[in-house]
């Protein structure tokens, strides 16, 4: 049944769902909610969502369970029956969305591409762990009042400027 209020609500919902700022605000609120519910299982604080740390916890946690090793991971994952599963969730959620909206398309690359991406991922995880979080946990830590994380974000923005300048120069050289 068409009605103007329903369609307005639907328009607003679809705008919100597709706007990055809505997701950013949602992650911030959910990370705080998750800490408020789950912190009894263990720290650290401001750990509600992080792609690098949660990948580390998932991989090392499963590795520890299967092989009986004791690789380091956050205590929230060490104490729980299974480690944090957010990264598995992101993969599932994005897959469902891509399938539902017909945006799933296999894109292959060369062996060289795979090698570069593999090394990139390897380095990014190690660098993120040295700092203690990926860009997302850095944002949460900043919101929690950690100024070191704010320094990380500024440095990351500078790194992005340098990377963009590098790409532009390389593109110009290829044009010439």
């Amino acid at each position: 049944m068409p009605c103007s209020i329903c369609s307005t609500v639907r328009n607003i919902t679809s705008l919100l769902v597709r706007h990055p700022a809505f997701l950013g605000a949602l992650i911030g609120m959910l990370a705080a909610l998750s800490q408020s519910l789950l912190i009894s299982a263990g720290g650290p604080e401001a750990y509600g969502f992080c792609v690098a740390c949660h990948t580390r916890d998932l991989v090392n946690g499963v590795f520890n369970i299967l092989t009986g090793t004791s690789l380091a991971l956050a205590s929230i994952s060490k104490n729980s029956v299974l480690p944090v599963m957010s990264v598995a969730g992101v993969l599932i959620g994005a897959y469902v969305s891509a399938r539902l909206h017909r945006e799933h398309a296999v894109k292959k690359g060369s062996f060289r591409d795979y090698l570069i991406y593999f090394l990139g991922g390897f380095l990014v995880l190690i660098l993120a762990m040295i700092f203690g979080g990926c860009p997302y946990r850095a944002a949460l830590r900043t919101g929690y009042g950690d100024l070191i994380a704010l320094i990380f974000i500024v440095a990351m923005a500078l790194g992005v400027i340098a990377g963009t300048a590098f790409m532009l120069r390389r593109a110009e050289r290829e044009d010439a």
């Binding site: 909610l33 998750s34 789950l38 509600g48 969502f49 969730g89 969305s97 990014v124 997302y136 974000i153």
Partner: protein, 174 residues
Amino acid sequence: MATGVLPMETAIYAVPALTLLLGVLIGYLAQRSGFCSIGGFRDFFLFRHTRILSGYLALIAFSFLGYLLFWTLTPAAMEHFFWALTSGPLTPVPGAPAGLGLAASVMLAVIPGFLVGFICVLLGGCPIRQAVMTSEGNYKAAFFLLGMAVASPVFAAFVSGWVVLMVKSLGLGA
């Protein structure tokens, strides 16, 4: 020791379940919106587009508001909020290699921050964007995630210790 709403016995089961649920929701919306931290800064510097950057800025602002809200509701779960006031202005929240001095903490934020920004912008996205692209069928992004997965035990077993040794040999230990 901070205590949350759920007691320890329940929380240890809720941790994987709830994080999986949050992950699915975040992954779904990230695929819809093209959410990316690195991409936001890149689009801003290249084209002055603010759409994607608004996501990351909203994340910072709303994580503060969210922690503030839940700090008032459940203060026991937010033991050290607001961190700079309760734990010292330049003490990092635990996560990185522990037992380092102030100069080391700053150094271990600036160098990784710069390099993460540089590498990720060349590879077209931050870790969450790589995960979303993997789910969209991008094999290159899948190798990025594989690299992260392989690096996890390597970091825990070797690199973490090396970093601490290196920093201490520079005289920057706590």
